[in-house]
């Protein structure tokens, strides 16, 4: 007990509070002034953050606008857009030949569909037109022509060129084939996309225009490896 009291007394004596040195405030106020000096040379936070915030908002709005309008500079539909179009089934106008379908689209939506007429494949029954419907993608009218190839349904989507595209080629552009059963090309002022999801005959839908299934344009090497397809 005596040792304990001794210890407490000794600790209280040795650990007694002390007065802070006079220089302490000077060192604190010096640091504070230094910080203020640095801060005064900086732009006010609002002058930095407001333009940054405005830029972020503008970028977000622009991104939203482009995503809504699909004006990504691509000359074709994205897979996502095709997936949206494929949600709509059935036809607005039944036609058993391509000329009737094309004329109906021209009258209703003023879209020109240029495919070779009187092609043997169409004549001999390898390709059978079912009908056509009209759709809209972000306000842009699109004609969807359903046809059958060897009992499997393919759809040709045709739309006027979208904003931001500069190509004014009059002839057909190179065909691009994606792994997801999509074939793209441009011609005149329209964009063309065929959706045909056949495991056994992936290029069969090309017989709408070609005598035999097209395996891919030689001019572009291996279309399957095209980025973004």
């Amino acid at each position: 007990m005596a040792a304990e009291k001794w210890l407490e007394k000794e600790l209280a004596r040795q650990l007694a509070p002390v007065s802070a040195p006079e220089t302490l405030w000077d060192s604190i106020s010096g640091r504070t002034r230094g910080r203020q000096a640095v801060a005064s040379h900086r732009l006010p936070e609002r002058l930095v953050y407001w333009p940054l915030a405005a830029a972020i908002v503008l970028a977000a709005v622009a991104g939203f606008w482009f995503s809504r309008n699909g004006s990504s500079g691509e000359d074709r539909f994205t897979e996502k857009e095709v997936a949206l179009l494929e949600r709509h089934q059935g036809v607005d106008f039944r036609a058993d030949n391509f000329n009737d379908a094309r004329n109906w689209v021209k009258r209703r939506a003023n879209i020109d569909i240029d495919v070779p007429q009187g092609h043997p494949a169409a004549e001999n029954g390898a390709v059978h037109v079912v009908g056509v419907r009209l759709a809209k993608l972000d306000g842009l009218p699109i004609a969807a022509v359903d046809y059958e190839v060897s009992g499997e349904t393919a759809t040709l989507y045709v739309s006027g060129k979208r904003a931001g595209l500069t190509s004014d080629d009059m002839g057909p552009s190179l065909h691009l084939h994606s792994r997801r059963g999509l074939t793209y090309w441009n011609m005149r002022n329209e964009t063309y996309t065929i959706a045909f999801h056949s495991a056994t005959n992936p290029h069969g839908a090309c017989m709408l225009c070609h005598a035999t299934p097209v395996q891919g344009d030689a001019a572009q090497g291996s279309p399957e490896s095209q980025p973004g397809l």
Binding site: A3, W6, L7, E8, E10, L11, A16, P17, V18, L24
Partner: protein, 191 residues
């Protein structure tokens, strides 16, 4: 540690950015902050660094202090955290010695007593310094600021029982290591 009206007004002045408020708040608490820092670190330069950082932190964050909180406990926590963060390797308790050795130089003491007392002071300080950070902080708060277990518990963020346990263990270590020197510290006839 109840926040009085004047203290509240002082804090509110600081929250408004009043320079005189900062100075007044500093004057009110500087000795407490510096004492804890010095007794914990055992080094005047380290203590000044700790105290300086504590006040800078206080001034920069006082805007977030809620009036219904315990201001002193809040300030103590800042000091304690800065003490724990202090990484100086050359911890010594020399500032403690200066005053103690002077006090021991009382008339009538023999040269041998002076030497023994100086030796005792050195030992006490080195043994305190050898405690774990938490034990040492409890000892410092207890003997430097005379805080209660409950007050220390609020500051350290633990229960009063934990504080009591830490202090008890610290006492046992100090007693065991310093028992042989106890006779030197006690004046003749009082032991």
């Amino acid at each position: 540690m109840v926040l009085e009206d004047t203290a509240r007004q002082l804090i509110e002045a600081c929250q408004r950015g009043d320079p005189e408020g900062f100075r007044a708040l500093f004057e009110k608490h500087k000795d407490m902050v510096y004492s804890v820092a010095l007794r914990y670190s055992g080094d005047a330069a380290a203590a000044q660094d700790i105290a300086q950082d504590t006040f800078l932190k206080l001034f920069s964050t006082i805007g977030s202090f809620r009036g219904d909180s315990n201001f002193e406990a809040w300030l103590y926590r800042m000091v304690v955290n800065r003490c724990f963060d202090q990484k100086r390797k050359t911890r010594r308790l020399a500032p403690l010695l200066d005053g103690i050795v002077d006090a021991l130089r009382t008339p009538g003491m023999s040269v041998l007593d002076e030497v023994l007392r100086a030796e005792l002071s050195t030992h006490v300080q080195s043994v305190v310094d050898s405690l774990s950070p938490e034990q040492k902080m409890v000892v410092v708060l207890r003997y430097t600021q005379s805080l209660s277990y409950d007050e220390m518990a609020v500051i350290m963020g633990c229960s009063a029982g934990t504080i009591a346990s830490r202090l008890n263990r610290a006492h046992k270590v100090l007693e065991r290591r310093l028992s042989r020197l106890a006779g030197v510290a006690a004046p003749k006839g009082t032991k």
